[in-house]
Symmetry: C2
Subunit: 264 residues, 2 copies
DNA sequence: GCAAATTTGTTCGTATGTATT
DNA sequence: CAATACATACGAACAAATTTG
């Protein structure tokens, strides 16, 4: 009896969810019913539900009720690939082929291009701690119309004057930016480093991904710094994924083809 | 006035935290003081504090007060490496060298060895969806005495009878398990796939990592499946890291040496 | 070492607002 | 419009953890 009552109620409900006595998607008894069932006050029942909400087991909908969350089929993204070619770009092609395999409808927003002073983070990764002006190319991604990830790539401004003018145009670069930069600027990507952080969403992210505004759902942020043959950073790509619907794969060396389905 | 009062109070405090008016580590006014300051009830003030707690901005300590969370110096782990050698093992050596670089005191628990039926997840990754008996080697890791990560490696039972008997002994395999398996069983690792999931901690994890029991802090789980030259899985290593104090790096191709310090 | 004061945690009751059916 | 269900807000009392005198 060490636990407070609202925890005991929460644990009881949690057990019913685990044993599927309360199925995913089904509605819990209303707060008033639970109040009678557990001989507690409505506020105490609400504390129990709040606990389960924070654990990500249930969601509440005003005017409707409290529901057991559905298991969402996670989207699996493979982030490695040949460091010298296509996917290193992190834009476009690989993303589409990954998704279509799984019977989903991928779409992307138009590419939004801006010229800006780089954030300190990005400037640091680009090897210019003092600051640097960059071209940023931003893209939003959807699957079956639902927001799935956001990505922004940052390129040094000088790439423009050196001939890579398509970087400043809001259109997809079909052959991949790695290939494009090799052809136009003569800079060849030879490797990259991914830096992975899990953090709370900021407000724009919470809005775009339709996350609950309380920061319960984490964001996986991957900052990919690509390097050329002179060990100089040539691009930083920041991708963010809501952690509740995404899983990531990294492959090294010889690995058999993916058996595309698995469960958690 | 769209926002409820507790949100307005939370936003006001959030602003003070952002501008360092309330410094990291410092104590917020008590609930009673905030109640007077905002002309609200204590419960409403508590709702505001709960909101900030969920955002990870403050923590409450019974009997003491509410405090702005300190920025913790995150531990950065590099998870890639030569797919054929040392670190592929994921045990021991690489971990130590990574940590000592950063002036910390890494320690590990004794290795705990068990023979068990593999969990469905693990069996699936090992290519035996029907189930398989495995040797599991479990290890807990600390930095400066604080819990930092846990890791369990699973090897097919048959490796024992084929000569790799040290797998069943609760001692570090200094030369690395990859090398050891190559020498004893003649199985050579040629690559691996990391599968990354972010999820809520389970109870043992919450206890070991001293996480708040409400599941607010996520766990980063990486399941590494290592493959031999015949495209057969030879090992699965599951590592878990609390997301609030860990960042991960993955490197591909040619990448310059890490500039070991950075900030978020 | 103990008692008092302080501070957060739990639980109840009640009233009213807002979203949905 | 009415009924239902969750959301917000207030007030009150006691419990538990911690610090202070």
């Amino acid at each position: 009896m060490a636990n407070p009552m609202y925890r005991q109620i929460a644990e009881d409900l949690q057990g019913q969810i685990k044993t599927k006595e309360l199925r995913p998607g089904s509605q819990l008894p209303t707060e008033l019913e639970l109040r009678d069932r557990y001989s507690a006050s409505r506020n105490t029942v609400r504390d129990a539900i709040k606990w389960l909400t924070n654990l990500g087991l249930v969601t509440t909908r005003p005017g409707q009720g409290t529901f057991v969350v559905e298991d969402t089929d996670p989207f699996v993204t493979t982030l490695s690939g040949d460091p010298k070619t296509g996917f290193g770009g992190g834009e476009g092609t690989r993303y589409r082929s990954e998704v279509t395999k799984r019977n989903k409808e991928p779409t992307t927003s138009p590419i939004q291009v801006e010229i800006q002073e780089a954030e300190p983070d990005v400037a640091q990764l680009l090897g210019k701690p003092g600051g640097i002006v960059v071209i940023s190319r931003h893209e939003k991604r959807f699957i079956d119309g639902k927001p799935w990830s956001m990505q922004t790539s940052f390129y040094p401004m000088e790439f423009l004057s050196r001939g890579a003018d398509r970087l400043s145009q809001p259109f997809d670069i079909e052959e991949g930016t790695v290939q494009y930069l090799a052809n136009t600027v003569g800079i060849h990507q030879v490797g990259y480093r991914d830096w992975l952080v899990v953090r709370a969403p900021d407000t724009p992210e919470a809005i775009f991904f339709q996350l609950p505004p309380d920061g319960r759902t984490s964001i996986i942020q991957i900052s990919r710094t690509a390097y050329d043959g002179n060990e100089q950073p040539m691009r930083v790509t920041v991708s963010v994924y809501p952690a509740d619907r995404n899983q990531l794969l990294f492959e090294f060396g010889q690995v058999p083809k993916q058996d595309t389905d698995r469960e958690s």
